[in-house]
Chain length 267, copies 2
């Protein structure tokens, strides 16, 4: 038995999310099917984060075990090949929504989900009057101006250990609502230098939220962003009051999945 | 008569390019139709650059004239509204490929094409083994490693006044093949800092070419990039010999449209 660690990029737009479900295409099932095509073994691929439908990953960590031994290079090439030939995402129909960026052998003690010490997400907002074009399905378009300073002041109060009941989905299966948010960063207007940014330079219309925590509850990031945007629009939300209420209705709406990215996992 | 200047973002993927043609959807015709919907005037929209099918724009400058007077704010909102309701790009089918970022009244002497003193393009390559996912239709995927230093050394020799016969398309209608390329920059590995880049941080797999000139010949940028990539892959192309040959066959292949962006026009 050999355990492999994968780093994955994926576009969640046309998927039901990470987790395999009765209907629809999941990132997990696409990978498991590609691995089966490669080596005829039915494996379970375990990820650091089980992202929702529409949520993307820049570098998701996952692991799985193979009975047969294969070089990590071969595994990566074969899985990418089979991902690409699987309907409905064959090259002809626009290409695959998942790509293996890296693969290596790991110790059998490595566990992508339970061993993860820190997870990082980012959320990207396009804040301009003009509708989205090049960033379709990659951002949340907020056409009204946002008060960044007000959002920053509120964000500071989200950091730390809290009861997140007001920020988690009703269907959240997390055992405890008590979690620690280690860091929030809000970055804006940093896209002016052609030396630094590729597709996005000459644009000061993007706002990025970065979140780091050991773990997150269901919809926690999107509910934090939805609340911060309400504050940025001038609504009288108070973060401390929202925590105290322990009621989902006390916080703002859930931000759309399209702007959310799983950025990385640390072990 | 009032002249309006527009700044446009567009996704060239599903268009025949800027210029209206017998078949297919052009950026120009989408705009002209949206303007007609708004004010029932049939206008010609003139752009700084007539980009090909599949080529994108981050900030294309264009102009047109209206008999009726309307506030630039109103023009922008109305054109964006009608762009969005035009088949086959209505919101339900995934959204419009063109967006008006800015609109203002200009002097009747302003001409988006003939008044342009400097045009800037960029070309984005994703240089990694793993196939493209999030940047589908936004980059050229080159899976083999590129020698950046070799490309930089060759790029320097493209700058200046030359006879570009070897780098222009057979069907190019430019009167003279003599043009001056003012600047090329090659940027790579600049995506490591989360403070600087949104979607692309933690990625050192992107190479950006930036080009500035008063004007470019047909396919000139894509032919320069195609040649530089051949050099990056170790092929024995010599820039001076290519210029001397005055023969399109002497240079490398035409790089795909998907990686090319019109970045801006100066007046």
């Amino acid at each position: 038995m050999t355990r492999y660690k994968l780093i994955l990029e994926y576009d969640g737009t046309d998927t039901v999310g990470w987790q395999t479900q009765a209907d629809g295409v999941s990132v997990q099932s696409l990978l498991q099917d590609a691995i089966f095509q490669f080596c005829k073994e039915r494996v379970e691929v375990v990820a650091a984060g089980r992202t929702d439908a529409g949520v993307h990953a820049l570098a998701m960590t996952a692991h799985f075990d193979l009975e047969k031994e294969a070089e990590p290079e071969t595994v990566m090439a074969a899985v990418n090949f089979h991902l690409n030939s699987a309907p409905p995402f064959a090259e002809a129909s626009g290409g695959r929504p998942v790509s293996v960026l890296a693969c290596k052998r790991v110790d059998e003690n490595f566990h992508a989900r339970f061993g993860c010490r820190m997870r990082r997400y980012k959320y990207v907002i396009l804040n301009r009057r003009a509708p989205v074009v090049l960033d379709k399905n990659r951002v949340w378009w907020v056409p009204r101006p946002l008060d960044i300073d007000a959002m920053r002041a509120a964000a500071v109060r989200l950091v730390g250990e809290h009861d997140w009941t007001s920020f988690r989905a009703a269907e959240c299966q997390g055992k405890s609502p008590i979690k620690t948010l280690d860091e929030i960063k809000i970055i804006s207007g940093a896209f002016q230098s052609p030396d630094n940014c590729a597709l996005r330079d000459f644009r000061d219309d993007t706002i990025i939220f970065e979140f780091s925590a050991r773990s997150f509850l269901h919809h926690q990031v999107r509910n934090m962003v939805g609340t911060l945007v309400e504050i940025g629009l001038g609504k009288p939300y108070d973060i401390d009051e929202i925590f105290t209420a322990k009621n989902r209705a006390a916080a703002g709406p859930t931000a759309p999945a399209s702007g959310l990215y799983f950025v990385g996992a640390e072990y």
